[in-house]
Every structure is written in structure tokens, then in C-alpha cells.
């Protein structure tokens, strides 16, 4: 039956329902696991044991009295540290917010509390979610549980590593260009970026508002669907959240792909995708054919321009979003004496890391008078072309299959060139530009390191992704492999 920390959330929920285990026991097991492995994995920035155990006791008492409990009642869960939590420090991985304690909850956090989840801590990330390895964190670099000398991916690397290392069964991340799917791929877990508008962004510390979306990490497909159920839905506090009915995604986990038409865009297997990754992904594609899906190659011709367009649009939005960090309302303030503008300039110089400064600079330049049309407007037009590529493909196909990351987990410090690092997101960022749902599921190993298969769906059709992922998961056991942490 394994230990408590090996259970998926749905398995733990069944056992709690039958009275075999309590939330306090599960929470204590998670806290003990964190105490024993997190000095190696370094997934967490903050752990809140007292609050977690108090939440667990509340749920246990409710169950004991036979009162109704929420969808995730008693399940330990970790949050990326760019999600605001009342009374618990929220840093976005930045020194400029090293002491920020939000006076309010993000909508997803409120929903998780209502669902009875036990919030156990806040996970590490690249500063303001800008990066693909957690090496841009203003605090420390998290490590890949499969090989502690390698990165867990990013920016939601802490959440991915925490789930892979069996510290928690579930975690939330955010994804602007691949920041959930890429670390899920590198850590051998499941990570989903929902359709833009599916989940409220209220209380997510903004990076690029037209691309950001919050989503789940888990170790199996049912858990992913369960967590998406808990966080989805319209929110008056986020005017970009969409007022559409939210289906029960666990009911969509039907392991049957017969009759589904799946496209494989050839551009996603181009330069940069290693032979081992391509082999694992093609292996998964062949398997889905055996299971009854129809698979055909297709083309998304604008793909090669995605990276350049993204690195105009995302920095442009970030340069505007990060203007709020001025040393006045919250966070760091320089100790140096300076005038009004000097205070802002010095505070930002001290508080932001190199990558964040670079993105603010490039975004400011792309938006400045005289360059707007050449860069920002053109990038937005390219975004339209990318969107139309997908629309055309979805006239024929129910979903698309690609590698999630062109490479498996790389060594800490290996990608010192920021441009090279940006290539890590080449297969994931077009999905954000088009606002579509994408999921990464484990599909094999390359030299002992996990490889992820990305499924891309039509807008608001996460259900089809769950169906394909369930069929693949039922026929394989990649998701059950566990990293052999030496502790």
C-alpha cells in the first residue's frame, strides 16, 4: 500500500472517507517528508506546519461529525510563491518582496480553502516567474529530484519538484510561456496550463497578464482533473476570467482515444529537440495510435517566429506590471537617501535580479516612442498568425501532440547564456500566445531523466486532453516511477 506520501490525492481522499487515515496523519507525513528531503530538493521557500496541522484538525473534526466536506478536504497542497496568501509571506521569488505579507488571498487560494485543502507551504520559482530553471530565484536554486545536480525546470520548479519528491501530492503553479508544463516534464509529473480565462488570476502576482494562467501539478491525471475542478470558474475580481460552465473534469478522464484525430506539428521536432526526447515522444504517439487514435502530421508554419514575438510581448507587459514596485507601498525600500525618483530607481536596482531587469529594459524599449510599430505591434500581429495556425489545425484535429521541452533536465549552471535558456520554452510558449490549454504528461526517460509529452487542445476543451492523458496513463507506468532520493 506504500507510505502515506506515495498516495495520490484521490486515493488519500477515499481512505479518509473510509476512516482509514486522518488528514492530520497525511499532513504530518508530508511535513516529515519535507523535513527529510527538502534540504536536498530545496522546493520550498516557506513551510507553515502549525497552520497546516490546524487546517487538518478542522477537516478531521468535520469528517468525524459527519458534516459535508469539500473536494480536497484534508489533502496537503503546495502553492507557488507568486500566489497571495493572507498572513503568509509571498515573495514571487524576488528580494523586492522579501518581506511582503499579503492582506488577502488569491481567488484560487480562497477556493482551495473552501475545498478543504491543507495549505502546507510556498514553493520556489524564478523571480517573478521569469525563467526556466529556478536559477533566477532571488533566494536559491531548487533541484531536480531525479538528479540533484540538475535543475527542476521553471519557473514553477519548486512546485514540480515538491510533487515529484513526494513532499505533496498536489501543487499549483503559473504558466506564462511554459512555466508549469516545462518543469512538469523535467520532473516527471503532470502539469496543466488551463485555457486562458478558465482560472481567475486575481491574487497572482502578475508577469504578463495576457499570457499568465494558474494551473495544477499532480502525479496522476485524475488528481490533475480534481485540482482543476477546485480552482476553475468565473470570478468578478478578474475581468478576463470567462463566464462559462465548468464541467466535472474527473468525469472526462475516460481512458479511450478511439476515433480521436490527433495532429503532430512537424515544426515542434525541429532543431534543438534531442534524439532521445524525440524518440520518447514518438514512442508515446505510436502507443496512442495502437490505442485507436488516428494520428497525422501537420504544420503550424508560424512556430519558428513564436520565440521572438514572445520575447517582445511578455517583457512589454512585464515592464508595465512591475512598475508598481517603487519602494512606497510594500516590499523593499533602499536605505540610501535619495529624492523621489532616486528612491524608486535605487530600490528597483537593489531589489530586482539581472533577468528581471533585462526584461523590464527590453519591454520598456519595445514600447517606447518610435519603436512601438516595429516591435510591439508586429509581435502582436505574429501572435494573430500563431493563433490562426492553431485554428486551422483544429479544423482537422481534436488535439495536437508535441514534446513539452526540447531537452531533459539540464545541469545547474549549464545554460549561462540567457538566450539559450529561452529556447527551453520553444515548444510551450505558442500555446500561451494562442490562449489554449496544454498538459505535459510523463512519456519516458532519456538517460535516466524524465521526458514529457505535451497535448494541446482547443480553447476550453481541457476535457479532451484529460481523455487522451487517461488513456495513455492507463496503458503505461511512467507516472508511477519515483525518484530514488538518497534520504
Amino acid at each position: 500500500m506504500g507510505t502515506l506520501t506515495d498516495w495520490t490525492a484521490h486515493e488519500a481522499l477515499e481512505r479518509m472517507g473510509r476512516g482509514e487515515v486522518t488528514s492530520r496523519e497525511l499532513t504530518q507525513a508530508a511535513l516529515e517528508r519535507i523535513a527529510s528531503v527538502d534540504s536536498e530538493v530545496k522546493a520550498f521557500l516557506t513551510v507553515t506546519p502549525e497552520e497546516a496541522l490546524a487546517q487538518a484538525d478542522t477537516i478531521d473534526a468535520r469528517r468525524k461529525r459527519g458534516e459535508p466536506v469539500g473536494l480536497l478536504a484534508g489533502i496537503p497542497l503546495a502553492l507557488k510563491d507568486n500566489l497571495c496568501t493572507t498572513g503568509v509571506k509571498t515573495t514571487a521569488g524576488s528580494q523586492i518582496l522579501h518581506n511582503f505579507v499579503p492582506p488577502y488571498d488569491a481567488t484560487v487560494v480562497r477556493k482551495l480553502r473552501e475545498a478543504g485543502a491543507v495549505l502546507i507551504g510556498k514553493t520556489n520559482l524564478d523571480e517573478f516567474a521569469m525563467g526556466s530553471s529556478t536559477e533566477n530565484s532571488g533566494f536559491f536554486t531548487s533541484r531536480n529530484p531525479w538528479d540533484l545536480t540538475r535543475v527542476p525546470g521553471g519557473s514553477s520548479g519548486g512546485s514540480a519538484a515538491a510533487v515529484a519528491a513526494r513532499e505533496v501530492p498536489l501543487a499549483l503553479g503559473s504558466d506564462t510561456g511554459g512555466s508549469i508544463r516545462q518543469p512538469a516534464s523535467l520532473c516527471g509529473v503532470i502539469g496543466l496550463k488551463p485555457t486562458y480565462g478558465r482560472v481567475s488570476r486575481y491574487g497572482l502576482i502578475a508577469y504578463a497578464s495576457s499570457l499568465d494562467q494558474i494551473g495544477p501539478f499532480s502525479r496522476d491525471v485524475t488528481d490533475c482533473a480534481l485540482l482543476l475542478n477546485a480552482i476553475s470558474g468565473h470570478d468578478p475580481l478578474d475581468s478576463t476570467s470567462v463566464d462559462l460552465p465548468v464541467p466535472d473534469f474527473t468525469a472526462a478522464c475516460i481512458p479511450d482515444v478511439k476515433g480521436l484525430r490527433l495532429g503532430v506539428p512537424k515544426e515542434y521536432f525541429g532543431a534543438g529537440v534531442t534524439a532521445e526526447v524525440a524518440e520518447a515522444v514518438w514512442g508515446a504517439i505510436d502507443y496512442l495510435m495502437e490505442l485507436g487514435a488516428t494520428v497525422e502530421e501537420c504544420s503550424l508554419p508560424t512556430t519558428e517566429y513564436g520565440l521572438a514575438a514572445y520575447y517582445i510581448l511578455a517583457p512589454a507587459e512585464c515592464s508595465s506590471n512591475l512598475a508598481r514596485f517603487d519602494g512606497v507601498k510594500y516590499g523593499l525600500r533602499t536605505k540610501e537617501l535619495a529624492g523621489h525618483i532616486g528612491l524608486t530607481e535605487k530600490t528597483r536596482d537593489e531589489g530586482f535580479g539581472a533577468e528581471v531587469k533585462q526584461r523590464i529594459m527590453i519591454g520598456t524599449y519595445a514600447l517606447s516612442a518610435g519603436y512601438y510599430d516595429a516591435y510591439y505591434k508586429r509581435a502582436q500581429q505574429v501572435r494573430t498568425l500563431i493563433r490562426l495556425d492553431f485554428e486551422r489545425a483544429f479544423e482537422t484535429f481534436d488535439a495536437l501532440l508535441t514534446p513539452t521541452s526540447p531537452v531533459p533536465a539540464f545541469k545547474i549552471g549549464e545554460k549561462s547564456d540567457p538566450l539559450e535558456m529561452k529556447l527551453a520554452d520553444v515548444c510551450t510558449l505558442p500555446v500561451n500566445m494562442a490562449g489554449l490549454p496544454g498538459i505535459s504528461i510523463p512519456c519516458g526517460f532519456a538517460n535516466g531523466l524524465p521526458v514529457g509529452l505535451q497535448l494541446i487542445g482547443k480553447a476550453f476543451d481541457e476535457a479532451t486532453l484529460f481523455r487522451i492523458a487517461s488513456a495513455y496513463e492507463q496503458a503505461t507506468d511512467w507516472h508511477q516511477r519515483c525518484p530514488a532520493l538518497s534520504v
Binding site: 512606497v328 529594459m361 494573430t384 498568425l385
Partner: protein
Amino acid sequence: MALSREEVRKVALLARLELTDDEIDEQAKHINDLLKTFETLQQLDVTGIEPTSHSIPIVNVLREDRTLPSLPREAVLANAPEARDGCFIVPRIVEG
């Protein structure tokens, strides 16, 4: 098109970042490297293509103009580096 150090300084001022001389050099190199990769976008014909600012059609979201509860002032000011008498404290702007 490559940016000079002076142009980078001007962008830094617009972005309210006080950068050291070394940082200015670093930023100039980085921005110029990125601008080179952006040149590929000039190859695409975008004549008549509408720009996309959001992936989903977004229209203005309106609501009735009524007062809703907001956070207590102390909670809002609790994170301020300096606050007094219910206000954020900033350096003197007007001399005199």
C-alpha cells in the same frame, strides 16, 4: 540596429532602474543580442493582419457603480516601508 550606451541609459531612466556602468554595458549587449533575434520577425508579411492583444475576445466588463467593502486601512499600510497618520511616506517632492 544597435543601441548605444546613451540610449540604454535613456531606457533605464524610463524604466526607473538606476544601473551601474557595468550593468549598462551588460544590458546593452543583452538588448542588442535580442534585437538581432527580433529581426526574423521582419521576414513575415503581416500586411492586413490584425494585432492580437488577448487570445480571447474581451469586451469592457461593467458593473453597477456601488460601494463594496475594501481592506481596512491598517491592513493596506502594514506592508509599507514607512507609513504615518494613515498615509504612505515618500521623500519630499516640493522644496521649500
